[in-house]
């Protein structure tokens, strides 16, 4: 499924303008970076409340399709700039991890 389809269906807010319309094959939820590094798969959509710039390095290293920042957490400006530079879509939602996961599951992920 394309990330643009998820974005539109679930009404996610763009945190940056990013043209990458990556394919999403799965979902990973986590806030401990080492666990995300070890367990998330390439082309996963990553749901997290972490907003520090390092999430972009993690997403880039393991080739995550996109990041959804949960619970309407404020995102550091450095993080947004790095996401633009690397080309990783990053979205915001008011939803919790559970609510977001249920919606993604309903979409077939």
């Amino acid at each position: 499924m394309k990330i643009s389809e998820i974005r539109e269906t679930l009404k996610l807010t763009d945190a940056i303008a990013c043209k990458s319309d990556n394919e999403v094959q799965g979902v990973y939820i986590g806030d401990l970076l080492s666990l995300v590094m070890a367990k998330a798969k390439p082309a996963d959509l990553w749901l997290t409340i972490q907003t520090h710039i390092n999430i972009i390095a993690v997403a880039d290293l393991i080739e995550i399709s996109g990041i959804v920042i949960l619970e309407d957490m404020a995102i550091d400006e450095d993080t947004l700039q790095k996401a633009v530079e690397i080309g990783i879509p990053i979205f915001r939602t008011k939803l919790s991890a559970y609510e977001m996961a249920c919606q993604l599951h309903d979409l077939g992920l």
Partner: protein, 141 residues
């Protein structure tokens, strides 16, 4: 004796959380340009990231060395101390001495060294007050 094809050295600063992962990202890009199998690139990326984060969180700074051989990728992570008090304990999953500040940023899960060992084909660690030295070898299939 293996023939060394290429060698890169990256400096890593203590407490430089904002640039955490920069060396590992460059290592990954270098490997992608020479068409290494993606599953090998991932193993190297995870292991090098954890080693880099350890230098940033726990040490007085250090360097990462990437060596590319025909049949193997080798990463060396060498820091300038203060060393790990109990290496066996540090190797156990979930044990961490990371600061609260580091934990708030999502570091300090206590998975760093165990992840490195898991993703390595050959892993060596030595540590004393002058520094910790990791050797991480990953075979190219």
């Amino acid at each position: 004796m293996r023939e060394l094809i290429k060698r890169y050295v990256f400096q890593v600063q203590a407490n430089d959380f904002d640039n955490a992962g920069a060396a590992s990202s460059t290592i990954k890009r270098n490997l992608k340009t020479i068409a290494i199998n993606p599953s090998i690139v991932r193993k190297v990326a995870v292991a090098s990231y954890e080693a880099e984060i350890n230098i940033i969180i726990h040490s007085n700074g250090g360097e990462m060395v990437l060596e590319i051989y025909e049949d193997m990728i080798s990463i060396k992570a060498n820091d300038k101390g203060p060393g790990i008090q109990d290496v066996d304990l540090a190797m156990s999953e979930g044990f961490s001495t990371a600061s609260n500040a580091a934990r708030e940023l999502g570091f300090g899960a206590g998975m760093g060294l165990p992840n490195i060992k898991k993703y390595s084909d050959n892993f060596k660690i030595t540590s004393n007050e002058k520094g910790t030295r990791l050797t991480i070898d990953i075979m190219i299939e």
